[in-house]
Symmetry: C2
């Protein structure tokens, strides 16, 4: 007797929260400065916490030179019941769906940039390398995120920045760092679920 | 004037190829030995190449002790136009959808095991840490995969095995290694697209 799988068992769908649609449509089509892009991303992260739709993380995909907004994703691990539904994976996947390609760096496309409210976790650093973005802007990196929120950033390569750069991805750090840290403190104050630190599920 | 997003712009869906449904239903509900589990996974990877539905990678989720098959995922980057649609992400996400949880290691669940036809790439090592599996079986690791196929495994942590083990994930290597390498050679002979090595899309 074989296993019994149905057509719904070979697919899955992930989505941004309903509020994200209005929030995206309230933004300008283009955000000219890196600070304006980061401010929008941090606001999405804060709203994700306030609306209780996910963790305090957001990731925006922009055309680097024109500032055109492609999409801003937010963390959806708990809401979508999917451990890889990090903000970056949501943003890359939706941007690729909108643009119809698995490679945001494909010939003929403008250069794409990811703007993130902290350094990507171990998984998302790898996802960044495969996404085709050519530019990564982060509000910061370092132990503050883990210290404030309790999240585990995972086994990132110790020399992650050079590993991205040798794959053609420029990295700019420390854009609106204090505002990003303030958003993590807001999250910590809510005592929401920290979903990747293996609490309650050790063998 | 704001950006113009529609409800379809805030979601995405990924799926296994149509042949996977029949192939899953042709398998026993339980696969008792690690070798039997790996043989099934390698066969999915080979079929994914033969059917031209994705790269030569498959990843199975099983209950470690009973051998119950939860799902086997295959790589869908090109077919789903999504750079993170690696076999492991497909398998974790579908297993979590079937079980209704973002944590395959949640209290009350049996111990889950991932069986992989090579060491996960940098992204998927991180995804493994977040998935909740407690056991990882790989056919092998080392430079052969990159040498044979041309894929880039990315910036994996140099001490990835210990990083997983300190997060409660046991690793067993070298199960049906030669069969896994033979499948990579079959892929190389097809001269299919190697979708993550940045060919044609350097700046």
């Amino acid at each position: 007797m074989g296993a019994h799988f149905s057509t719904t068992d070979i697919r899955f769908e992930l989505d941004l929260p309903a509020w994200a649609l209005g929030a995206l449509n309230n933004l300008p089509t283009h955000l000219q400065t890196v600070d304006a892009r980061m401010a929008a991303v941090i606001e999405f992260a804060r709203r994700n916490v306030r609306e209780r739709t996910g963790g305090p993380f957001a990731s925006g995909i922009f055309e680097r030179d024109s500032g055109r907004l492609v999409v801003i994703g937010v963390n959806r691990v708990v809401g979508n019941r999917c451990s890889s539904a990090h903000a970056e994976v949501m943003a890359f996947s939706i941007a690729q769906r909108i643009l119809g390609t698995w490679d945001l760096g494909a010939p003929g496309l403008p250069v794409h940039q990811m703007v993130n409210n902290w350094r990507p976790c171990a998984m998302c650093l790898g996802a960044t390398a495969w996404s085709g973005v050519r530019s990564l802007i982060v509000a910061g990196d370092g132990p503050e995120l883990e210290a404030i929120t309790g999240f585990d950033e995972g086994p990132a390569h110790p020399d992650w920045r050079r590993e991205l750069e040798r794959r053609g991805i420029d990295v700019i750090q420390d854009v609106l760092r204090d505002a990003a840290l303030a958003a993590f403190c807001e999250f910590a104050a809510t005592r929401s679920e920290v979903y990747n630190a293996r609490q309650g599920s050790r063998p």
